[in-house]
Amino acid sequence: MEAGSTAVKSVGDVGGPTSPTGPRPDSADVRRSAWRRRLSRLDTVVSPYVFVSPFFLLFLLVGMFPLGYTAWVSVHQWGLLSGQGEFSGLDNYRRVLEDRYFWNALRNTFSIFLLSSIPQVLIALGLAGLLDTQLRFRGFWRMSVLLPFVVAPAAVALIFGNVFGDRYGLVNEILQGIGLEPIRWHVDTLASHVAIASMVNWRWTGYNALIFLAAMQAVPRDVYESAALDGAGRVRQFVSITVPMIRPTVIFVGITSTIGGLQIFAEPRLFDTAGLGGSDRQYQTLTMYLWELGWRVRDLGMASAVAWLLFLIIVTFAVLNLLASRRAGSLKGLGRKGAAR
């Protein structure tokens, strides 16, 4: 935005040369300069929108259009291969809401979401706090937390599939080695959620930590100095200064991980080969349920209805998240930041 408005200003300056030292203007000149002034004003008003429009045009095409089209599909009978059928109103929504696997998938999605997002944000905060200190080989440490993020989810699923094998997996072999009962990672509902959440966490924690770190580095160092003079320890500084000072970033990460967390697909999808989330769909998430309806049952109408329901759920949670994090803690810091913008 800021870059846009400076650009506009300079364009406006060039476009409106009303020099007082020029020749005495006749009436045509006056008219022309009035026209130019108008043009210049128009330029100032319209140009910013022209400059930002490519994004919004793209967004309309790849964001709004699919959204609208999905809504259109969701009110029709629509087969994957047979295509558009009759208009069916909200029938697809009714069928989805009556399907017990929808509610099952909703439960699984929230369970995996909570098991992944909460530890993820907390660990990322702590990790960023550690990375923000005077470490040796800082670059190396900072790079390595991002490493899991670069690995493709399919590869992560492959590795964790072996780690969390029910019978011959690494974790269970260790558990049995120290005399504990093996955990049935693919069978028991909660265990499977933990296994999947740990895949998600492994991948995203470092990424979030780097975002937190970037925000932490913008916190003025003299605040810490005064806190230290007042006798605040490291932990106290972290809790009372660092976290409140990076609140907008915390909110941002909270919302993005809500959006991502409610759409978890690749990890549970690849957790077994059938892709339905286990024999009892104990780890079938909403996106997997959507995929099952669309590609296994081959009913795009119902799949689109699920897509819209998921969209509404995510919007609701993103808003709730925003409200909750605005309310919690000091509003002062946030207010000042907002005013500065």
């Binding site: 095409l61 699919p66 599909v73 019978r167 011959y168 997996g169 069978v187 009892d280 104990q282 897509a307």
Partner: protein, 428 residues
């Protein structure tokens, strides 16, 4: 940069409208951007297969023969995965390989979309395949949609070293006489697990049930493709038989193709499995380094056919003529015999069945068993080919899951059956 990404996005949007909510999968489904030619102007053909088709060396051979065509194989790990990809790109209208393999379980669902595939009928290939193989690939108006590759006549593969431990005969002829019907096979299993604790009798309940279902002519759907799964006594009986074996420890409790299942080949996880020709290559790969595998010329309850595939040429391809020529070459008897030698995929071509190369084939990994002769006899023992309608694969998945729930102890057999019925109802 913006321009190319714009175009790519536009295409993505139009080909996969629902991509928004599936943002995580879009990257994987984006498909190839190439226009079907290589840098030096040759036509590039892709062949999409799953599991093991035994085409690696054949494709090299074809490439060496051709000056203007380069063939590349895309292998999917499982038939399911391959199928999902096929459906997605069929719906999108682009992105399919020039040749797509299709497994019989899904065949009739795709026959309903026969317009999406090129008619491959050709005087040169008339009479090339077993009649039923060709019939199943011919539409009511006479178009031939697929060229048959293999069929899946089943024997029983077993670990002779573990049999010895249990005091069972190890010689493949004597083993064959043990397994006249399913009850005899399960009884031998009970004997086995008593002697060799820690090792199951068969690889998975699902695989065993699948083998049994394939022996039922009309299992889940009747002649008119009306769904009869819920009321068919044979379906219920197989369910009860297989699930009642769970308490006896006959099953590993694993699902086929899972990581644990693959690992169980290396860990003496089980002693026998239903074994169609194409499974030989899978076993050899998973049990690499394990000695003692053999195959008996028998299948409980007579003969059985499990799987087998076709090669199709999707109409959306850019080089359908060249693809057809390649499919024709790959499915010729001579080539299918080579695929059999490589991975055990048993030919569906009439001329191949009597070919001395085939009947004389032995398999070193399976203790020098005469696999050619055994599978040819197993093919003859198949009394009929089970009917598989458009819903077969979907109902079968639900059936397998129900059995798996019992295997895992999540449900009792009765509960699992009830939830299977609910699933069938849901599939409509």
């Amino acid at each position: 940069m913006a321009q190319t990404s714009f175009r790519r996005r536009a295409r993505l949007a139009s080909s996969a409208i629902l991509a928004l909510t599936l943002a995580t999968t879009v990257a994987a489904c984006g498909g190839s951007d190439d226009d079907g030619t290589t840098a030096d102007g040759k036509i590039k053909l892709t062949v999409a297969t799953f599991n093991e088709f035994g085409y690696e060396e054949l494709i090299d051979e074809y490439n060496a023969m051709q000056d203007d065509v380069v063939v590349e194989q895309k292998k999917a790990g499982t038939a399911n995965e391959h199928q999902d990809n096929l459906y997605t790109k069929l719906a999108a209208g682009s992105g399919l390989s020039d040749i797509e393999a299709i497994e019989v379980d899904w065949w009739s669902a795709l026959m309903e979309q026969s317009d999406a595939f090129v008619d491959l009928s050709d005087p040169d290939v008339e009479g090339r395949w077993l009649d039923w193989k060709t019939e199943a690939a011919t539409t009511p108006d006479g178009a031939l949609i697929g060229y048959g590759t293999d069929i899946g006549p089943e024997g029983i593969c077993y670990r002779s070293d573990l049999f010895e431990k249990a005091g069972l005969p190890t010689d493949r002829d004597k083993v064959a006489s043990l397994f006249s019907d399913w009850d005899a096979y399960f009884d031998a299993g009970r004997q086995f697990v008593e002697k060799v604790p820690g090792t199951a009798w068969y690889d998975s309940s699902g695989g065993t049930a699948q083998a049994m279902i394939n022996q039922v002519e009309y299992s889940f759907e009747d002649e008119d493709n009306t769904v009869i799964a819920a009321d068919n006594p044979e379906v219920k009986e197989i369910f009860e038989t297989v699930t009642s074996n769970v308490d006896d420890g006959l099953s590993t409790g694993l699902t086929q193709w899972s990581e644990d299942w693959t690992a169980s080949f290396q860990n003496d996880g089980f002693a026998t499995m239903a074994c169609p020709g194409w499974m030989l290559g899978v076993i050899e790969g998973n049990a690499d380094g394990v000695e003692g595998w053999d195959i008996a010329n028998v299948f409980p309850g007579g003969g059985g056919n499990w799987g087998g595939s076709y090669l199709t040429v999707p109409a959306q391809g850019e080089h359908t003529e060249e693809a057809k020529a390649l499919a024709k070459w790959l499915t010729a008897p001579e080539q299918q015999i080579k695929a059999f030698e490589a991975k055990g995929t048993f030919p569906s071509q009439v001329d191949a069945l009597s070919d001395p190369t085939l009947t004389g084939e032995t398999n070193a990994f399976f203790n020098e068993a005469p696999t050619g002769e055994i599978l040819a006899e197993r093919a003859e023992a198949v009394p009929f080919i089970a009917h598989k309608g458009p819903k077969f694969a979907d109902i079968n998945t639900a059936y397998q899951q129900a059995i798996q729930r019992v295997d895992e102890g999540k449900e009792t057999p009765d509960q699992a059956w009830d939830s299977f019925l609910a699933d069938v109802e849901r599939l409509g």
